[in-house]
């Protein structure tokens, strides 16, 4: 088993090395694509085997660590390169490799003919490796390696077409968007570094098992714990695009669409949720942090969803949707519903990947057109894509019995229980917006008249290599929710929520700390809330449908006029980018250049240095005058000196 577990991340690494070192020589895209996807498929197979193995173990023993070697050792600090499989890590590994495999296959079609075909697959394989390291690691430092590693891959893939232009605040090229992502993530990562220093101080180790085991012995809500968890959450806001570090994700859409699907929707951005869940016992000790997480999550969910209402770039709509959905997950984690958060990670990976890949098919068919105002009526030429997109739309809107309904309902229920009606209302409002912008998108893209140039563009379905992954994702978006059926809906089965049950051993300590030993809920309350939330989502979807399905563009213009300033506010994303640019980026540039360099360094410090040199020189040239070379004057000075000395000796 050791070998199998270690092979899960190492196979994609081997794929990366092979593609990276030799890929440029191979002409055949089939070979490159097969190799690139094959490694991930193999990892997925191994992950399912390991899952099967875990399932047959008795529950308390479902955690197994493989130590490869000791990585860093200095003084009392030591950390190993080791992988742990347990319910949490295997769920993430399955999502990463499973959805990752489908997206790899899809990319063979999407990237066909691209000059950087081999490079693309090399980066994708590297990404899968880093992501697997992130989730399988047994300690925080190795997770950090994966954490920054996926950030690097994200950076490389956002700027994959490095000579293409891209528009944004302070952004000219796609690579600038990549750089923005990298630096904003680094801000969060700095927090994670500090958290690690504090953790080493506190526990003498960065191993999850040690931290989680010893956490229980610490005092609830102590300053150190709050500081550690807040710093970790800062890192999560970077990686998972939450307020205040959310603004990089929409610009990350500069990358190829499969990248947006894989990295910026299904997997990497959920790493923050993973981290919070992984250290759930620690977070449970810091109720203050949990409250902040829940508040930030809810706020992000709502604001991002409102921005999504008016965007016209198909990928940007989906990007804001992703930010919003991640907000849902963090709200869940913040109220202590860790398994609901993980559940939403899983279902979201299915339907959001499907939405992105469907969008990619549309973009592909329209020759890189991303503006939904220049689409329309595509359901006629792309019926399969349309149906799948519709399925994903219904899932994200939370219409039963599709997957999104179950995970969102689980979150809403826990939020209502823990945070009360206010939190619930915020999320339901976000859910309304979600349904609205999704169906606005569907209506504008697939319905109404065809607004693209019909003389030159003849959109058609994507090739099979792209369509089959879409079909599989469509299937998963439909049935994925059955992993977590709430007890309320199947009261006769003992534990119908398979995923929650599977993850339970990991989250029990945290739940105990939070005093959440599941009280039998009043089912009628749950039914009412479920019905209400579904009705609100349905209303959102229907109203968008009615507004946009006939003549979308006209409706769009009407809304724009009707809303006026508010529309502008949403269109410009609450001016956050501009705010950062003017208040942080530009001042730092100016102060660095004008004050630190030109004034402090060049004028002041170097001025003093050169001034000292000049002073010595000038002193020298004054003293030099004494050395006239005239012997008489030397004799004269000597005489005066002797006289002075003598008189001093005589007088005193």
């Amino acid at each position: 088993m050791d070998f199998l577990i270690a092979a899960i991340p190492l196979i994609p690494l081997a794929g990366f090395l092979t593609l990276g070192l030799f890929g440029w020589r191979w002409r055949s895209e089939t070979v490159l694509g097969a190799l690139g996807s094959g490694t991930v498929g193999l990892s997925f197979l191994l992950s399912t085997i390991v899952l099967g193995w875990l399932l047959q173990l008795p529950e308390p023993q479902r955690s197994y660590t493989v130590v490869l070697y000791r990585w860093i050792e200095a003084g009392t600090f030591r950390v190993e390169l080791a992988f742990t499989v347990d319910p949490l890590s295997i769920v993430f590994a399955l999502v990463v490799t499973g959805v990752g495999f489908l997206i790899h296959v899809y990319s063979i079609g999407y990237m066909q003919g691209d000059a950087g075909f081999w490079r693309f697959f090399a980066y994708l394989n590297l990404f899968i490796f880093m992501m697997l390291v992130l989730v399988l690691s047994n300690n925080l430092l190795l997770t950090f390696l994966g954490w920054e590693g996926v950030g690097l891959c994200s950076y490389l893939l956002i700027g994959f077409w490095y000579n293409r232009r891209f528009e944004g605040v302070g952004i000219l090229w796609t690579t600038d968007a990549g750089r923005k992502a990298f630096i904003m993530n680094r801000i969060g990562d700095a927090g994670m570094l500090l958290a690690m220093f504090l953790l080493v101080q506190q526990f003498g180790s960065l191993e999850y098992s040690t931290i989680n085991a010893q956490a229980a012995s610490l005092a609830m809500g102590s300053g150190t714990i709050v500081a550690i968890t807040l710093l970790l959450f800062l890192a999560c806001t970077g990686k998972s695009a939450q307020i205040p570090l959310a603004v990089w994700l929409p610009d990350a859409m500069a990358g190829p669409t499969p990248v947006s699907a894989l990295i910026h929707a299904a997997t990497m951005v959920t790493a923050g949720v993973f981290l919070v869940s992984r250290l759930a016992p620690l977070f449970a000790l810091a109720p203050a942090t949990l409250n902040i997480i829940a508040a930030v999550g809810a706020l992000t969910a709502l604001t991002a969803a409102t921005i999504g209402l008016v965007q016209t770039d198909i990928k940007k709509v989906l990007a804001y949707s992703t930010i919003s959905q991640l907000g849902f997950m963090f709200t869940a984690a913040g109220v202590g519903a860790f398994s609901a958060a993980v559940f939403h990670v899983v279902t979201h990976a299915f339907f959001k990947a499907l939405l992105f890949l469907g969008a990619g098919a549309v973009i592909h068919a329209l020759h890189e057109q991303q503006d939904i105002r220049a689409m329309g009526g595509l359901r006629r030429s792309m019926p399969t894509t349309y149906r799948l997109f519709l399925v994903a739309g219904l899932a994200i809107a939370g219409i039963p019995p599709l997957s999104g309904f179950f995970s969102k309902d689980a979150i809403l229920w826990h939020v209502f229980e823990e945070a009360g009606i206010l939190g619930w209302l915020v999320l339901v409002a976000a859910a309304f917006c979600t349904a609205f912008y999704t169906f606005r998108l569907i209506a504008l893209v697939f319905h109404g008249e065809e607004r693209f140039d019909r003389r030159h563009l003849h959109p058609h379905e994507a090739p099979a290599v792209m369509r089959v992954p879409l079909l599989i994702l469509g299937f998963l978006s439909v049935v994925g929710g059955f992993l977590g059926i709430p007890h309320a809906l199947l009261p006769f089965v003992d534990s119908p929520n398979l995923l929650e049950h599977f993850l339970e051993p990991l989250f029990t300590p945290a739940a105990a700390l939070l005093g959440k030993i599941s009280a039998p809920a009043l089912h009628w309350e749950e039914y009412v809330l479920m019905l209400l939330a579904t009705a609100v989502s349905g209303a959102g979807a229907l109203s968008a449908w009615r507004l946009f399905s006939a003549d979308g563009l006209a409706a769009e213009q009407k809304i724009q006029q009707r809303l006026g300033r508010l529309y502008q506010l949403l269109w410009r994303k609450y001016y956050v980018d501009e705010f950062y640019q003017k208040l942080i980026v530009e001042p730092v540039q100016q102060v660095s250049e004008r004050f630190f360099w030109r004034f402090l360094d060049a004028a002041l410090i170097d001025g003093v240095v050169n001034g000292v040199a000049r002073l010595v020189g000038q002193l020298g040239s004054i003293v030099r005058r004494l050395q006239t070379g005239v012997a008489q004057s030397y004799a004269m000075v000597m005489l005066v000196g002797i006289l002075a000395l003598l008189s001093w000796l005589v007088l005193f």
Partner: protein, 545 residues
């Protein structure tokens, strides 16, 4: 095995003499000879590494030859875990610098290679000297060839830069000479005889009265901090880098700066521990200021070499912070970071040199869109940039992480704020390094001169690829490197903690437990802290009011 160390010092010196004897037209001979000398020296350094026994405390390969007997000044050399890696780094970077010069240096080649080899002996001497006077001689000897390398083969403003470099560093080292003599005199008065023997002085140092320690601390520290260079003593560095030829920059950043940080460890911490406790927060503050300041100023640069020069100020800040955390983790990180900085910054200067050879400009704005023209170069430079930015998995991360971890945990500094500020350097490094990389590589080339740049050739690959291999090696398997110095730093920190807190938590291998494969010379060992300290404390003069 002592011959290895002697051979290491002698080989470049012999090479220096042989090159001077060769006729100046025989360029091929000169090239072949200097590369051969570089290779042999590097090979000897590797042999030294293999023969080195990390589980054995104290200096190894010790040689003591008579020099000024009446004053007990000798040609004493030896290597311990702290200096070994720096010796290997020096020989590696000299070899790379020699390779980088083959095409770049076009005039006065004979003198040039002679100077480079003389410089190598001098630098190695600094790291292996275990006699204060010998150390001082090598320390000053380094200045001479470097002065000429900048002053003769440098850029337009080379004379100013060379003079500034020379005077700046000379001012500091004169005070150090005073300190060295003072120490000898103190030994004469209180410990039975004038001496330059570092091992004896290490025992005497902690017994010095605090006032004297304070003065001596600064006499040494000033010289070292200028070399590092620590903010605000850094302004010679950008000028020297901008004007120096590529090989000069590589050596300057890669090795010369490390002489300063090495000196801080070897002399300030070991000879003046009590003064170090007092000044550690001050120096740590200067370190973190340097981290932030160097990064911000680097961000404002448009000249590639200046940008990297200021990035050195920032990176060396991490090292100083690690040193004055006075923890094993911090010191280990600092030492590894010295090596890492030498490799990654050395490589960045090599890359800038390669671009300069092609375009004869160092202005970032002149470039752009090179990724498509020079794909292999783009990949290798990306790795250097990421290593310098401290990406986990590459070498820079291990050193930075341990340095900051040490600073955060230090009982001497006892303040989390150092790590908290220092960590911002990680963010800023990403900002200025990516700015640098993007300006060179991405977008479309706006300048027609960039359309047809050729990718790097085999000679250039030979310089860069070994460094990249080391990035990955140290990043993923740092233990063979960390292991070398672990014992040296453990015993050093154990001593420091004993002196400061009266108790140490550091575990040291007991003498019995140490494998006694080879009979070790029983020396008056400073490395059994318990016994040594008792003796020290007994001998220490009572504190003055």
């Amino acid at each position: 095995m002592e011959w290895i160390l002697l051979g290491l010092l002698a080989t470049p010196l012999v090479g220096f003499v042989l090159i001077l004897l060769l006729p100046r037209e025989r360029l091929r001979w000169i090239h072949a000879l200097s590369i051969a000398v570089g290779l042999i020296t590097f090979g000897l350094a590797i042999a030294l590494w293999i023969a080195f026994r990390p589980e054995q405390p104290g200096f190894q390969f010790r040689i003591a030859l008579r020099w000024i007997e009446s004053l007990d000044i000798g040609f004493r050399v030896g290597v311990d875990g702290i200096s070994l890696l720096l010796v290997v780094l020096t020989t590696l970077l000299t070899l790379v610098a020699l390779l980088a010069s083959l095409e770049a240096i076009r005039h006065r080649q004979k003198e040039y290679y002679a100077m480079l080899l003389l410089l190598e002996t001098a630098m190695l001497g600094v790291f292996v000297a275990t006699d204060t006077f010998l150390f001082y001689v090598f320390w000053e000897l380094v200045l001479i060839p470097m002065y000429f390398i900048i002053g003769i083969w440098g850029g337009r403003n080379r004379i100013y830069a060379a003079l500034k470099f020379f005077l700046y560093t000379l001012v500091g080292s004169l005070l150090m000479l005073v300190g060295i003599v003072w120490l000898g005199v103190y030994a004469q008065q209180h410990a039975g005889g004038f001496t330059g023997d570092l091992e004896r002085l290490q025992q005497i140092g902690p017994t010095l009265p605090l006032t004297a320690q304070r003065w001596l601390f600064w006499a040494f520290a000033l010289s070292f901090c200028i070399k590092v260079p620590l903010f605000p003593l850094h302004t010679w560095l950008p000028d020297a880098h901008v004007e120096a030829p590529t090989a000069g920059s590589v050596i300057l950043a890669g090795v010369l700066l490390k002489m300063g940080t090495y000196g801080l460890v070897r002399f300030n911490l070991e000879l003046f521990p009590q003064a170090s406790f007092e000044y550690a927060p001050l120096l740590a503050w200067l370190g973190v200021i340097g981290i932030v300041y160097g990064a911000l100023v680097a961000f404002a640069q448009s000249d590639m070499k200046k940008l990297i020069a200021y990035s050195s100020v920032s990176h060396l800040g991490f090292i100083v912070l690690g040193i004055f955390s006075m923890t094993v983790e911090g010191l280990q990180g600092a030492l590894l970071q010295m090596v890492n900085h030498g490799l990654s910054t050395g490589m960045l200067f090599l890359c800038v040199g390669m671009l300069y050879e092609r375009r004869h400009t160092r202005e970032l704005a002149e470039f752009g869109g090179l990724a498509r023209r020079m794909p292999l170069f783009a990949v290798l430079l990306a790795l250097a940039v990421l290593s310098s930015a401290g990406l986990p998995g590459l070498n820079g991360f291990v050193g930075e992480f341990l340095s900051l971890l040490g600073a955060a945990q230090s009982r001497f500094l006892d303040n989390f704020v150092f790590a908290a500020i220092g960590v911002s350097g990680v963010i800023l490094a990403a900002a200025y390094l990516l700015k640098f990389y993007h300006a060179l590589m991405f977008g479309e080339p706006s300048n027609p001169e960039n359309y047809h740049l050729r990718d790097i050739g085999w000679l250039e690959r030979l310089q860069l690829i070994p460094l990249v291999v080391l990035f990955v090696w140290i990043g993923l398997f740092p233990r063979p490197f960390l292991h070398l110095s672990e014992l040296s730093f453990r015993s050093m920190v154990a001593k420091l903690e004993q002196l400061r807190f009266g108790i140490t938590t550091i575990e040291l291998p007991t003498p019995q437990a140490a494998p006694a494969a080879e009979p070790v010379q029983p020396s008056p060992s400073p490395l059994e802290p318990q016994r040594f300290l008792e003796e020290q404390l007994r001998r220490m003069p009572p504190p003055r009011p």
